[in-house]
Amino acid sequence: MLDKYKEAYDEIEVPKELITETSLLMKEEQEKQAEKKKVGFFRRPVIFSLLGGMAAVILAIGILSQGGSSGELIKTELQAGKMVDKVKLENGELNFATHSISDNDLSSDLKSYITKAGSDADVKEFYGEIITIEVPKGFTNSQTKIECLYDGEQLTNVKVVNEYTKGDERIYVTYEKEDEGTLNTNSTIDKQELALRYNKVNEEFVAKYIDEGKLYSIKTENMTQEDFITFLVKFVK
């Protein structure tokens, strides 16, 4: 039967008017983007003068708060649309080139377990508390999924997946009880060891680390390397 699958789909044609309409929409969007860039360019002197005036204030606040912006935290120059394999931070180093997280680490192998949807009550009972994760700035918490893993009757793990969205950008923050005790780490932030991975095909960044018996996973989609690092550094801290 499936040998006919390709033939069946070959019979379906993309409507010509859809291609024409989409082409127009794409070109309109291109013009909008170009317009934005132009506006950005011509307003630069104004912005620079305003920024110049504010620079001293910002600097003073930065020194006082000891917080630091992403620009100060990231010591390696990053470029939009390009991946930098090794990124030096003020307080660590991130390696994106080595795929230290294996495919098995990335996908939960739950073959021998039964998974059931859980609730806040399951999280509280299992961990003794509900871990509050601050919603990243500009994002909304689009969903929280709680999965309870049972080995027979025994509840062995509770996995909480928070999904945050901002337009097409997505951040998934997951935590679960850490079982293996090891993770092939390749990066550090503030002495916290992490395993990082960049999936070029899917444009995804993944970071995993273990803290106080919990395995945390952060996965982002459609985010730049800089935005991922900025979020990760704040989250790990």
């Binding site: 390709k6 789909y9 993309v14 989409t22 082409s23 794409m26 969007e29 291109q30 990335l106 095909v201």
Partner: protein, 157 residues
């Protein structure tokens, strides 16, 4: 300076892939059209650099799958039923294969489509969907079993 993308050339090369991935997931052409436009608009908005047409194609497939997921999520949240539109096929066996596969779960449909239509290898599908090869093999085999069972059930009926 970034070279402006040639929209018509990109559509000429990849419209078929994107539209058919969308059609393999949703059950009517109007929804597939909305997803199609959303995918290509995202391409213009993101202004990404692609190393090759294959890299661009893989990105477009991935974004199409994500847009389909969003579509299902929104439909679920709005508590709406998906409108099924009958597509006329010249060959009745094509009609049969199309609608049997349409009834499968999304995770099976996407693997079937990438394997049988796009003719990606299991290893390539695993990379594209960021999962293990063994998971893809299992999904393919379960999809085939499922189809066989449904056909047998319909024959018995």
């Amino acid at each position: 300076m970034r070279k402006e993308m040639d929209c018509d050339k990109i559509l000429e090369l990849h419209a078929n892939t994107v539209y058919k991935v969308a059609m393999s997931q949703v059950k009517n052409p109007d929804d597939a059209k909305d997803i199609f436009q959303e995918v290509f608009l995202r391409l213009v908005k993101y202004q990404k650099d692609f190393e090759s047409d294959e890299h661009l194609k893989a990105w477009l497939i991935r974004v199409t799958i994500n847009c389909c997921k969003d579509f299902f999520k929104n439909r679920y949240n709005a508590n709406k039923q998906e409108l099924v539109v009958e597509i006329p096929f010249e060959d009745p066996t094509h009609h049969e294969v199309f609608y049997y596969v349409q009834e499968l779960d999304e995770k099976y449909k996407v693997v079937i489509h990438l394997f049988y239509y796009e003719q990606y290898s299991i290893a390539d599908i695993a990379k594209l969907l960021d999962t293990n090869e063994s998971t893809i093999k299992t999904r393919l085999s379960r999809a085939r079993e499922n189809l066989k069972k449904r056909m047998e059930r319909d024959l018995d009926a």
